[in-house]
C-alpha cells in the first residue's frame, strides 16, 4: 500500500446516510467523458427498441405529455461524491415501458454524443427509474444531461445516462462505455460495486 500521508484524511467520508467510501457534497459536480452535446427540443427524440426490433418513439412534446412525477432522491457517484435530497421531475420508465412487449432481461442506454451504459431491465421498473427533464425546479441544464437524462438513483450515477436518446432491450448482457473499461457491470453503491470483480 505504501505510506500514509501525515494529517491527510481526504474529504470526510462515511456517515450513516452515505454508502461506503462516499463523501457528502452540496455542489453538483459536472463530470464528463466528452464535450457536452446540445440537442434542441425540436430535434430530440427518445426511443425504446425491443429485442425483436420493434421501436417505440417519443418526440419532445410527446414526452412532456406523459404523466410526470416529482421525486427527491440521493445521488451517488463512483468518483465518491454523494448529493442528498435532489429534486427531479420526469417520466417514470414504468409509464414508458407499459406498452412495450418484451421478454428481454437487459438494457443498453444510448446517449447523444455516443455514451452507453447497461442495466438489467428490472432495475428500470417498479418506480426505480425516470427520464428526467427538470432538476431543482428548472429545465435540466445541458452540462447535467439536459434536455433529458436517465435517472436510476439506486445505482452509481454513471448508470444515469446523461443526454439519453434511447434504450435497446436485449436477451444478452452487453457492456457499456465504462463497463468495458473496468467498471462494475451492476454498480450498487451500498455494496460498493465500483469496479469489475468487486
Amino acid at each position: 500500500m505504501g505510506i500514509v500521508s501525515p494529517g491527510f484524511t481526504g474529504r470526510r467520508r462515511g456517515g450513516t446516510d452515505l454508502p461506503p467510501g462516499q463523501y457528502l457534497t452540496h455542489e453538483f459536480p459536472v463530470l464528463s467523458a466528452g464535450p457536452t452535446p446540445h440537442v434542441l427540443p425540436e430535434h430530440w427524440e427518445f426511443t425504446v427498441t425491443t429485442e425483436t426490433g420493434e421501436v417505440h418513439r417519443w418526440d419532445w412534446s410527446a414526452m412532456l405529455r406523459q404523466p410526470s412525477e416529482e421525486i427527491t432522491r440521493d445521488l451517488h457517484c463512483v468518483t465518491r461524491w454523494s448529493k442528498l435530497g435532489t429534486d427531479w421531475k420526469g417520466v417514470s420508465l414504468d409509464t414508458l415501458l407499459a406498452d412495450v412487449e418484451t421478454s428481454a432481461d437487459y438494457v443498453m442506454a444510448h446517449s447523444y454524443g455516443g455514451y452507453t451504459t447497461n442495466l438489467p431491465l428490472e432495475d428500470l421498473l417498479d418506480g426505480q427509474a425516470w427520464i428526467a427533464y427538470q432538476y431543482d425546479g428548472e429545465p435540466l441544464a445541458a452540462e447535467h444531461g439536459g434536455p433529458a437524462r436517465l435517472l436510476v438513483p439506486h445505482l452509481y450515477l454513471w448508470k444515469s445516462a446523461k443526454w439519453v436518446r434511447g434504450l435497446v432491450l436485449s436477451d444478452t448482457e452487453d457492456l457499456g462505455f465504462w463497463e468495458t473499461a473496468g467498471y462494475h457491470e451492476y454498480g450498487d453503491p451500498w455494496k460498493e460495486q465500483r469496479y469489475a470483480g468487486d
Partner: protein, 250 residues
C-alpha cells in the same frame, strides 16, 4: 546521468520534504528529496499521491519547478479553493513529512538546452511553473538562446517567483513581461488579457523561429495558441500544456 536510458514501467516512490518556501499567499514551493529520482527535463511533471489512514488515495499532477541539478526537486503548488489535495500540500504538509510521487513524465512539453533557436514562454497563472523550470535549466546550462517570458496574472500579488524572475530578467538573454488582467501596479498602463497587440510587441515573431511554450488554464492556452497561429507562427513549433482543477466541482 542519461535520463532516458532506463526503460521500465514507472511507479510510485517516496520523497521527503526538505524545505518549504512561501511564494504567494496561496502558493508554496515544496522541496523534495527523492533518493531514487532519475533526473528530469525542464517542463516535465510528476504525480503526487496522498494516502489517508484507511487506504484512500487522492492524486494530482504538478509540474516540476526546478531544473535538475542532481539533488532535490521543487514543486510549486497553488491552492485550489475547495480542493482535496492542494490544501493539504499548501497548509498541512511540513518539513520532514513523506510525499509519494511518480515521475518524471511528459516528453512533449519539454525544453532541452541543445534545442536551437529562441524560446518564447507564455504562462497564465500557475502555468508559469514549468516555464520557470525551463528558465532555470536555461540558466543552469548557461544557454545563450534568447528567451522571453510573457506572464499573465490577475494582480501583482499573484506573481509566483517574483524575485527569481527579476534576477533572471537581469541577465542579457532573458526578457520578462507581465500582463495584468485585474489590477496592475502603479505606472503600468494596461489591464487586460494577452491579445494580438501584446504578442506583436512583446513576443518573438514568426521569422525569429522560436519554439513557443504556452501553459495555463485551458481557455488561456487555447486563446493564446490561436493568436500565435493567426499571427503566422508555425503550429508545430507551439507546444501547449493545459492545467485545470480535477474532481468535477462547479
Amino acid at each position: 546521468m542519461e535520463r532516458t536510458a532506463v526503460r521500465r514501467r514507472l511507479t510510485w516512490q517516496v520523497g521527503t520534504v526538505s524545505e518549504i518556501r512561501e511564494e504567494t499567499a496561496t502558493a508554496r514551493t515544496i522541496v523534495l528529496d527523492v533518493p531514487e529520482w532519475p533526473g528530469h527535463l525542464a517542463g516535465q511533471h510528476l504525480d503526487v499521491r496522498l494516502t489517508a489512514p484507511d487506504g484512500y488515495h487522492a492524486s494530482r499532477s504538478y509540474s516540476i519547478a526546478s531544473a535538475w541539478t542532481g539533488e532535490t526537486i521543487d514543486l510549486t503548488v497553488e491552492q485550489v479553493p475547495e480542493g482535496e489535495v492542494s490544501p493539504y500540500l499548501v497548509e498541512v504538509l511540513k518539513v520532514g513529512d513523506p510525499l509519494e510521487v511518480r515521475g518524471p513524465v511528459g516528453g512533449w512539453f519539454v525544453w532541452k538546452p541543445e534545442q536551437p533557436g529562441p524560446i518564447q514562454l507564455i504562462g497564465g497563472g500557475s502555468g508559469v511553473v514549468p516555464l520557470m523550470a525551463m528558465l532555470r535549466a536555461h540558466a543552469e546550462a548557461a544557454s545563450t538562446a534568447p528567451a522571453r517570458l510573457l506572464y499573465s496574472v490577475r494582480r501583482p500579488t499573484s506573481v509566483i517567483y517574483v524575485n527569481d524572475l527579476k534576477k533572471l530578467a537581469a541577465s542579457d538573454d532573458v526578457d520578462l513581461k507581465f500582463v495584468y488582467t485585474r489590477e496592475a501596479p502603479p505606472g503600468e498602463p494596461r489591464i487586460g488579457r494577452i491579445d494580438a497587440d501584446i504578442l506583436s510587441k512583446a513576443a518573438f515573431q514568426p521569422e525569429d523561429e522560436p519554439t513557443t511554450y504556452v501553459c495555463g488554464p485551458t481557455p488561456f492556452v487555447e486563446t493564446v495558441a490561436d493568436l500565435l497561429v493567426a499571427a503566422g507562427h508555425d503550429p508545430a513549433r507551439v507546444r501547449t500544456e493545459r492545467f485545470g482543477p480535477t474532481g468535477g466541482s462547479r
